[in-house]
C-alpha cells in the first residue's frame, strides 16, 4: 500500500512541476464547451437540452488529451522498467499512476463542470447530478484509457491510435453519464443511470489495472 501511495505522490509532484500540461486539458475542456453555444446559437431551451451531452463529450476528449502522458515519460527515461523490476507488485504501481492521472485530469473537470453548466442554464439540482455523474464517470474514463495508453506505449502515431482504441470503449460511460443528467431534467430520476455507472466503475477498478499491467509488461518486453 505504501508503494501505491508513494507512486501517487510522486506523479502528483512531477505534474506540479509541469503545471502547463495539466492546465492544457482543463483549458481545452473550458474552451470546447464554450464553443458549442457559439456554433449552435444562444437559445436557452436548446442549450439546456444539449448541455449534458456536450459537457460529457468535452470531458471525454479532455481526458483523452492527458492519456498519452500517463506512461510515456516513465517509459522513455526507463523508470517504468525499474518499476517492473521493483519488489512491490507492478499492478499496485500502475493503479497508483491511474489514480494520480484521475486526480490531475479527471477531478479538475468534475470541479469545473458545475461552473460550465451555468453557461447552459442548468439549475442547481441538475448541476448536482452532473457533478455526481462526472465524479463516477471520470475515474472510469481514466481506468479504461490507461489500458489504451499502455497498449500504444512507444508507438508511432500513438495519440491518434489511442483515440481510435479508447473512444469506442468510452461509449457506455458517455451514455449513462449524460443519460443521468437528461433523465433528471426529464423528471425520470437519475438513480438508475448513476448506479449503472457505479457498477461499471466497480468492474473497471477491478479489471482495468490488471489489464493495464499486462499491457505495460508487453510494451516493456
Amino acid at each position: 500500500m505504501n508503494a501505491f501511495l508513494a507512486t501517487v505522490r510522486r506523479d502528483l509532484l512531477l505534474a506540479l512541476r509541469r503545471k502547463s500540461e495539466v492546465l492544457t486539458a482543463v483549458f481545452f475542456f473550458v474552451i470546447v464547451t464554450s464553443l458549442f453555444p457559439l456554433g449552435i446559437g444562444p437559445e436557452p431551451g436548446l442549450l439546456k437540452k444539449i448541455a449534458p451531452g456536450i459537457l460529457w463529450v468535452a470531458a471525454l476528449l479532455a481526458t483523452l488529451l492527458g492519456l498519452p502522458r500517463l506512461f510515456a515519460a516513465d517509459h522513455s527515461d526507463g523508470t517504468l522498467e525499474q518499476m517492473a523490476l521493483s519488489p512491490s507488485p507492478l499492478g499496485l504501481l500502475v493503479a497508483g499512476k491511474i489514480l494520480a492521472h484521475w486526480l490531475l485530469c479527471g477531478l479538475p473537470l468534475v470541479l469545473l463542470a458545475p461552473v460550465l453548466g451555468l453557461q447552459f442554464d442548468l439549475d442547481a439540482s441538475t448541476l448536482g447530478i452532473l457533478t455526481l455523474a462526472l465524479l463516477l464517470g471520470t475515474p472510469l474514463l481514466s481506468l479504461i484509457g490507461a489500458i489504451g495508453a499502455a497498449l500504444t506505449l512507444g508507438l508511432r502515431g500513438g495519440g491518434v491510435l489511442l483515440a481510435l482504441l479508447v473512444l469506442p470503449l468510452y461509449i457506455p460511460a458517455l451514455i449513462f453519464g449524460a443519460g443521468a443528467v437528461e433523465a433528471h431534467i426529464a423528471g425520470l430520476g437519475a438513480g438508475g443511470h448513476l448506479s449503472l455507472l457505479a457498477a461499471m466503475l466497480a468492474l473497471a477498478v477491478f479489471f482495468a489495472p490488471w489489464a493495464t499491467t499486462a499491457a505495460v509488461r508487453i510494451a516493456l518486453e
Binding site: L155, L161, L164, I171, P172, I175, G179, E182, A219
Partner: protein, 246 residues
C-alpha cells in the same frame, strides 16, 4: 488422450499448420459456393414476397448473415487471441490477425445493407437504432484492433497487445450493446421497431441460415488464405519456409 493433445499442439506450430491450411482451403471454398448457391436460390426463387415490405425484404438474406458473422468473428478472434496469450502458441495470434479484416468487412457489409434496407422501409439511410449503432461501434472496434496491430512492428508484441485489446473488447461488447439499447429506449424520438420486420416464413429462415453458412465457410477460407500469407511473412527467415515454397 495425451497423444491427441500433442497432435493439437503440433498444429499450433506454423510449420505444420501451413500445409494443413493449404489442404483445407479448397474444401471451405467449395462449401461456401455450395451453400451460397443454395441460399441464393432459396432467397430469390423460393422465399415468397413479403406482405408488408414487398421484394425489398430480400436484403435480409445478406444483412442478417453479415451481422451475425461480424459478431461471431469478433468472438472467435478474441478466443484465438486469448488462447495465444495463455498458451503462447504462435498460430493463434496469426489467426486472430487474419480474422480481423474479414470481421471488419462483415461489419461494413452489415452497415451498408442495413442502410439500403432502411431507406425504403423507414425512409432514412441511417437511424440510431440500437442494433445499427452497436454494429457501428463493433466496426470501430475492428478498426482499432487492426490499427493497433499495424502500428506495432514486432509481431510478438503485436499479437499480445492485440490479444489484450480483443479481450477488453469482448468484455465491453455486452456492456456497449446494453447501454446503447438503454439509450435507445430513453430517447423515444426515433422509435422504429425492427422486430416487426417480416414475420418469418420457414423458407425465409432457411434461406438466411444457408446464407449464414455460406458466409461462415467463406470466412474460414479467406482467413486461412490470409493466415498462410502471414505465416510466410513472419517465418521467412526460417529453413522450413525456404523449402515450403516451390
Amino acid at each position: 488422450m495425451r497423444q491427441s493433445i500433442i497432435q493439437w499442439f503440433r498444429f499450433g506450430s506454423p510449420q505444420s499448420f501451413y500445409p494443413l491450411a493449404g489442404r483445407m482451403i479448397p474444401w471451405f471454398w467449395a462449401a461456401a459456393a455450395a451453400f451460397g448457391i443454395a441460399g441464393l436460390w432459396l432467397s430469390f426463387f423460393v422465399a415468397p414476397t413479403d406482405a408488408q415490405q414487398g421484394e425489398g425484404y430480400r436484403i435480409i438474406f445478406v444483412h442478417v448473415p453479415a451481422s451475425w458473422m461480424s459478431m461471431f468473428i469478433y468472438l472467435v478472434m478474441a478466443f484465438w487471441a486469448g488462447l495465444g496469450l495463455a498458451l503462447n502458441t504462435r498460430v493463434s495470434g496469426m489467426m486472430a490477425q487474419a480474422l480481423a479484416p474479414t470481421g471488419a468487412l462483415m461489419a461494413a457489409l452489415s452497415l451498408w445493407t442495413g442502410a439500403l434496407w432502411g431507406k425504403p422501409m423507414w425512409g432514412a439511410w441511417w437511424v440510431w437504432d440500437a442494433r445499427l449503432t452497436s454494429e457501428l461501434i463493433l466496426f470501430f472496434l475492428y478498426l482499432g484492433f487492426m490499427a493497433l496491430q499495424a502500428a506495432i512492428d514486432d509481431p510478438r508484441r503485436a499479437d499480445k497487445a492485440g490479444a489484450i485489446l480483443a479481450l477488453v473488447g469482448v468484455v465491453n461488447i455486452p456492456i456497449i450493446y446494453f447501454s446503447v439499447k438503454w439509450w435507445n429506449t430513453l430517447h423515444q424520438g426515433s422509435t422504429i421497431n425492427m422486430n416487426k420486420a417480416p414475420s418469418m416464413a420457414h423458407t425465409m429462415l432457411w434461406g438466411m441460415l444457408l446464407m449464414a453458412l455460406c458466409f461462415w465457410m467463406y470466412t474460414i477460407a479467406v482467413a486461412l488464405v490470409r493466415v498462410r500469407a502471414i505465416i510466410l511473412e513472419r517465418e521467412r527467415h526460417t529453413d522450413w519456409v525456404k523449402h515450403a515454397v516451390e
